[in-house]
């Protein structure tokens, strides 16, 4: 009798594991399908652009801007930010620990694993949020999310991850819900001007909006944080999200809000397989 009960428990355990594995497999499959559809849109719209070149944003589409950008990248304006970021990263907290203690591999070459869905906290974790959580768990005050010291630390961590391919997964119902929420945000129209992210960065990608050319959404997140000429400073992706929302006269969300983290999760999943190339310079 005991033997039969034990055998039954093992069989049930195997069945649950198989079903769970199949469910998580299907979430990743659904995201892969979306990703292919997303990329097909751009390959049809811009048949002359190499798929890997989308990591360079608008410079994949406009040769004149690209020429200027390549000259800027010879003496990158974010170099000092990376140096400062490295110094901050290696400076111990008051308790003697450092950022390296909070991250796998000491925080070096790991940016391609972010953002990711954390099952325990049931939230999307970005590298910037992880930096501040590290600070707070070591008795330090959090840094502001849009620029400054936090952007410099993020720039350093991304710099050490340059060339690494994005390798995110969607392994649970919670992760898929976060992905879908980000996807919904991306395609929802907002603001007085009634634009969605997709309007400017898919339908109107490559077109002129005032003096600028809108960048394609594919590859969007790979180069962040960016030194933007308009800011005359290094800034994070969430700073850019806020600016974009304001441009269409939508009240922006706070940097590292749930909404912006989920949007970043969706956008980064669309870039899965792309090499990280941040930090970078942008207009």
């Amino acid at each position: 009798m005991n033997k039969n009960i034990k055998l039954g428990a093992v069989l049930i355990g195997l069945l649950v594991t198989t079903v769970s594995y199949q469910a998580s497999d299907s979430y990743n499959d659904m995201v892969k399908k979306d990703t292919q559809q997303f990329r097909d849109f751009f390959s049809k719209k811009f048949p002359y652009v190499e798929m890997t070149d989308y990591a360079n944003g608008v410079y994949a589409l406009d040769s004149a801007s690209r020429e200027q950008w390549e000259e800027i990248e010879e003496f990158p304006p974010y170099e000092l930010n990376v140096d400062n970021g490295e110094s901050l990263f290696n400076t111990p907290f008051k308790n003697g620990k450092t950022y390296a203690d909070c991250f796998s591999n000491g925080g070096i070459g790991i940016a391609q694993n972010y953002p990711r869905y954390e099952e325990g906290a049931k939230e999307v974790m970005t590298i910037e949020l992880a930096i501040n959580r590290c600070r707070q768990s070591n008795g330090e005050k959090p840094l502001k999310y849009k620029g400054g010291a936090l952007a410099d630390i993020s720039a350093y961590m991304h710099y050490t991850s340059r060339g690494n391919k994005l390798a995110l997964t969607v392994d649970s119902k919670g992760a898929y819900a976060a992905y879908e929420a980000g996807k919904k945000f991306f395609y929802s129209k907002r603001g007085q001007l009634n634009f969605s992210c997709a309007d400017c960065h898919m339908a109107l990608a490559g077109q002129r909006l005032r003096a600028d050319i809108t960048s394609p959404a594919l590859g969007h997140t790979t180069g962040f944080p960016v030194y933007r000429s308009k800011w005359n400073a290094l800034g994070t992706l969430h700073r850019r999200y806020g600016g974009c929302n304001k441009n269409v006269r939508a009240k922006p969300f706070k940097a590292q809000s749930t909404e912006y983290r989920e949007l970043q999760y969706f956008q980064t999943l669309m870039n899965n397989g792309y090499e990280l190339n941040g930090p970078s310079a942008r207009k």
Binding site: Q37, Y187, R190, Q192, A203, K251
Partner: protein, 102 residues
């Protein structure tokens, strides 16, 4: 007697006009409060516009100054904006997938 009749008529016009204006002001204050509540709803749903607080501010200032014509104009604009914001929120909830290119 005629002068008295004219005086009484003038007083009643002022009284009725003043009461109407007070009624208008009270009505506009209620509408402004409603517009603010609608803005708060749009904000909670994540679809507030940056332009609406400015319009609400102008309505409040106009009401405070007693410029009911201007207040009415700004309140109407605020109500149009908040209605549109909430419509965007509804479209997002119900139809966002329609905007995904196939």
């Amino acid at each position: 007697m005629n002068k008295l009749k004219v005086l009484l008529l003038a007083i009643s016009i002022v009284f009725v006009g003043g009461a109407t204006q007070a009624g208008d002001k009270g009505d506009l204050e209620k509408k402004l409060a409603y517009a603010k509540a609608q803005y708060a709803k749009a904000e909670k749903r994540g679809f507030a516009w940056t332009t609406t607080p400015k319009v609400l501010g102008k309505a409040k200032t106009a009401l405070a100054k007693g410029d009911l014509k201007a207040a009415k104009k700004f309140i109407k604009k605020a109500l149009v904006e908040t209605e549109a914001s909430l419509a965007q929120a509804d479209t997002s909830d119900n139809n966002w997938q329609d905007f995904v290119p196939k």
